[in-house]
Amino acid sequence: MAPKMPWPTYLLDRVGLPDSHKLEVYRQHGGYAALEDVLRKPWKPEEVTAVVKDSGLRGRGGAGFSTGLKWTFMPDPAKDGRRRYLAINADESEPGTCKDRVLMEKDPHGLLEGCLISAYAIRAEAVYIYVRGEYRKSLAVLQAAIDEARAAGLVGKGILGTSFDCEIWMHMGAGAYICGEETGLMESLEGKRGHPRPKPPFPAGYGLWGQPTTVNNVESIFNVPFIVQRGAEWFRSIGTKGSTGNFLCGISGHVERPGVYEVPMGISARQIVEELAGGVWKGRKLKAWFPGGSSTGMLPAAAIDTPMDHDSIKNAGSMLGTGAMIVIDETVSLVEAEYVIARFYEHESCGQCSQCREGTQWLDQILHRIARGHGRVDDPALLESLARGMAPAKTICALSDAAAIPTLALVKNFAAEVQEHATTGRLPAGCVSILAAQDLQEAHA
């Protein structure tokens, strides 16, 4: 699962070990040493936050916000005595993204140790790991790991014989992408529909059950024990100035070896495609690629030498997102590809905001009619106009943006192809449809 990489790795080093999910194996490979150090020395909670902040770690769930800075938004416990929570976002649902699952299934104790240290830093009394309901294996493996850790005195009251108490609970979602949005996640965890909350107030002030809460992605938290043990300087020595550390790149679509690879920030996208993933499949040519999941704008083949870090990808006109590359070869109509994505956002819009509820339906329908050969000459302009009405930041959460951004990228970066498809009603030359043979069968049950 984790092939040897030509650079120093740490995230996936344990996943290939036999019984990598067991406490015994985790401990044999240095597991829980960072937690021991933090609790026995003891570090002050602010010291943990400081090292994570200094490391430059940016959230691995898509937004790329500084993890340590986020922690500092939690109120001062001397002035605010409310209960405090850490919620782990394991609702991995951004199309193309399949990395957190590897960590949860193969190295659950790595995540638990990260949870405990992070909870200590923000003084959370409990951690809720919100796992998407489809990830039954992740749920089962993590629950078994929590049981093992509890029996070993690593979860619950008086952890490792110190005064630190922390509970970790698993929580099962039920298949809604919107619950990956942090306030949608909190509503869902409270047993409600996953309707994102207007912000402010932000989770640090008003989170789960109205208490101060921090929400972090699985991979972000998984980095924490390494940063605590090896230091901020070590972490900053990997990657670029603005994007530090290694990250998990899940690469899918038209490559010879799709997979989840551990790479340093700043590696060129070409190197990932050609060296790690074995190149575009079947000897075909690259046509387009998503740098970080379906909500990041599609880039043309000419941009493949862009370094995979937040700033470089942004300069290229897209976003690093979840680091999930989706590769598309020369035989695919990009209108069809974007239609599949627009259909997804239409299905997942929670319906609270009209720009998103109506806008995702229009994007879906217009891309569908172009893809099915019934496009109109002015459809590309209409797509652009609609998308501009949906983003940026016009709605309660970023789902509307997530639908609008790749649409705008399509009409900008591939204008000629989209216009020709809409005008002629035919797939571009050399393309083979990726849609159902009959269009009436595309509906969800």
Binding site: C98, R132, G133, A174, G191, P258, I326, A337, V340
Partner: protein, 167 residues
């Protein structure tokens, strides 16, 4: 299905994980759906409303929001086929058509085969993108699929043998 004493006890324990009881609702809906052969009846929703002290319409509002909850009867085996981008790029539609032909079930308003054995659903990304195309059956992922692998899976389901994930 009225809530059994065993489930009630399980849900009481579940509620202790949270400062407010209703946080147990979604996990409880999952357990009830599993126990009831893959879907939630109006009676189950009412029982859960009673258990959590909520209005039935509130519970229905939650259950109907989440794609994993089924509010209509389903076949013996529910096959969820991912049709999102990474799977679509690697033949998900051809695979889905193959599954429909073999099972006699077709996604749509009902999606269940006339013999009641199979329900076929289109679902959005399941997070198996690097092992596309994929289907999920009885909580197990079956990945890197082609028609031959699907035929073996369907044969196992037909014979009643437990279908193991092809990981």
């Amino acid at each position: 299905m009225a809530l059994s004493d065993a489930l009630r006890a399980e849900f009481e324990e579940l509620c202790t994980h949270y400062p407010e009881r209703r946080a147990g609702l979604i996990p409880a809906l999952h357990r009830c759906q599993d126990e009831n052969g893959g879907w939630l009846t109006p009676e189950i929703l009412e029982d859960l409303a009673d258990f959590f002290g909520l209005a039935p319409v509130d519970v229905y509002g939650v259950a109907s929001f989440y794609p994993m909850f089924r509010l209509r009867p389903v076949g013996e085996h529910v096959i969820s086929v991912c049709h999102n981008i990474s799977c679509a790029l690697r033949g998900a539609e051809a695979l889905l058509e193959h599954i429909c032909e073999r099972t006699g079930a077709r996604p749509g308003l009902d999606g269940t085969s006339p013999d009641g054995r199979f329900t076929v659903l289109r679902v959005e990304c399941q997070g198996a993108c690097a092992n596309a195309p994929m289907v999920e059956v009885h909580g197990e992922y079956h990945e890197d699929l082609d028609p031959a692998k699907v035929d073996r899976l369907l044969a196992e389901l037909q014979s009643g043998a437990p279908a193991r994930g092809a990981r």
